[in-house]
């Protein structure tokens, strides 16, 4: 183990962490105790049916598969996630407090998501024995760990120390069916790409709104997300059942609705962040949904009808119900109980309404592979 700590992130014990120099810095710059105490990363741990994963046969898509893996192995983004002259000095002290809070929240949750992805992919790599599959997961774990490291560095500049001490806490392994991993991670990679590229293109046009240099890295960053999504599209292509049976079509619709709905709700929790970027959250949501729908038509036999007259009004109801729920959580007694019941019921009703909107059917192309083009 190591000593010589000047930063709590580097401490080997809690005592050292508390004595570390950076605590004074953090206090004086007003990053709250709240921010410090919650920087323990808490990724989730998953397990799945590894025999089913091992049974995957990529032969039907061999040519595309080998091409994609070779591209990932060549690692075009190696060295990209380093600070260079483009990394301007960040005026954390001068940043408006609400914006700062929301932006740090954005960075911490992004870091946690990258980290959880890394843990999941690494677990699949370690437990699997199918060479094609384990090779892919190893490459993706590499990218996610790299992204997490990059965000971590940005957080350190803000005086936020990420704590990786979670391993010595008790952690429970939850279960994912392999096909749910494909649907969820495929969508999360593709929507991640759409989110990053939409912000990047917006800031290209409005550079004055770029309040932090990390946004300059979004273009290459999202290309990693794009390739990961491609890999999952190919995996799904190896088994037509995954996208063709009526049960699985319902699952796909469910995942699309859940992912889009969640994004809408979460983005509305960060109004100052989007204001600072000069982005209207509703416009941003629709733009990202449109790109994600167009992309996911490469493998999914449907698109959600995001132009349906009920779509946006219902999303707004979902968001309001969630906001009310958050308020009720802070109350006590009967007010809390009633508030939570009302919020939950309305959120569920809104979700069902979204889910019942008929889809736009589409026919995935014979050749699944795409290149980033936005």
């Amino acid at each position: 183990m190591n000593v010589h700590n000047t930063h709590s992130a580097d401490a080997s014990t809690v005592e050292e962490a508390l004595a570390a120099d950076n605590h004074n810095v953090v206090d004086s710059e007003g990053a709250t105790a709240l921010a410090m105490q919650n920087t323990l990363l808490t990724p989730r741990f998953y397990t799945t049916d590894f025999e089913e994963l091992d049974a995957i046969n990529v032969e039907p898509v061999r040519e595309d598969w080998d091409h994609l893996i070779a591209q990932m192995k060549a690692d075009p983004n190696k060295g990209h996630f380093k600070k260079n002259a483009d990394w301007d000095t960040v005026d954390w002290d001068g940043m408006e407090p609400t914006l700062k809070r929301e932006f740090i929240d954005f960075l911490i949750s992004s870091c946690t998501a990258e980290f959880s992805g890394c843990v999941l992919y690494k677990e699949m790599k370690r437990r699997g024995s199918n060479k094609d599959v384990t090779e892919l997961f190893q490459l993706m774990a590499r990218d996610e760990a790299r992204h997490a490291g990059f965000i971590n560095d940005a957080l350190r500049e803000a005086g936020i120390a990420v704590n990786l001490g979670f391993l010595t806490q008790k952690k429970k392994y939850t279960y994912f069916r392999p096909k749910f991993i494909y649907y969820a991670t495929y969508l999360s990679e593709k929507i991640g790409y759409a989110r990053y590229i939409t912000i990047f293109r917006h800031l290209e046009k409005h550079p004055e709104k770029r309040f932090h240099p990390i946004f300059k890295w979004f273009e290459e960053w999202c290309n990693d997300e794009f390739s990961h999504g491609e890999a999952f599209a190919l995996l799904m292509k190896t088994d037509p059942e995954l996208t063709e049976t009526w049960q699985n079509k319902l699952w796909i619709k469910f995942f699309l609705t859940a992912v889009f709905g969640t994004m809408y709700v979460r983005d509305h929790q960060r109004p100052a962040f989007h204001d600072a970027l000069g982005v209207d959250v509703d416009w941003y949501g629709q733009e990202v949904f449109r790109k994600t729908s167009d992309l996911s038509a490469q493998i999914f036999p449907m698109m959600l009808d995001i132009d349906h007259p009920k779509w946006l009004p219902t999303l707004k109801r979902l968001q309001k119900a969630n906001a009310d729920l958050a308020v009720a959580e802070k109350k006590t007694g009967l007010a809390r109980m009633l508030g939570k019941a009302s919020g939950t019921t309305r959120a569920a009703a809104a979700f069902v309404t979204l889910f019942m909107i008929p889809v736009v059917k589409s026919t995935p192309p014979e050749n699944v592979r795409m290149e980033p083009s936005y």
């Binding site: 080997s12 919650n38 989730r44 809070r101 990420v162 008790k170 392994y173 939850t174 969640t262």
Partner: protein
Amino acid sequence: MGFFTRTTETAPCTVEISHKFESLHAHVKFNNGAVIFPGDEVQVQGPEIMAPYGEIVSEDRIATITRASGLERLWTRMTGDLEFMELCEFSFSEEAMS
């Protein structure tokens, strides 16, 4: 593993934590081939392991594995899927700082 009872076992493991700019990761590897099933809990024994910034720390430790009961395993298999949203950056979970 019983249907209603939990059992506990220990396994030697290697913990690797990387706190480098190039890679932020943390992994536990069981050295006796122990396999984790749905609903099991794992805790690495001993004090918190911290990697100083810029370094990779690897330590051999003992992990306690609490095996889920058959019922819990079944339950986790049935319900675990619903937690998939946490994989998304914009997950339903509470704000990171709240």
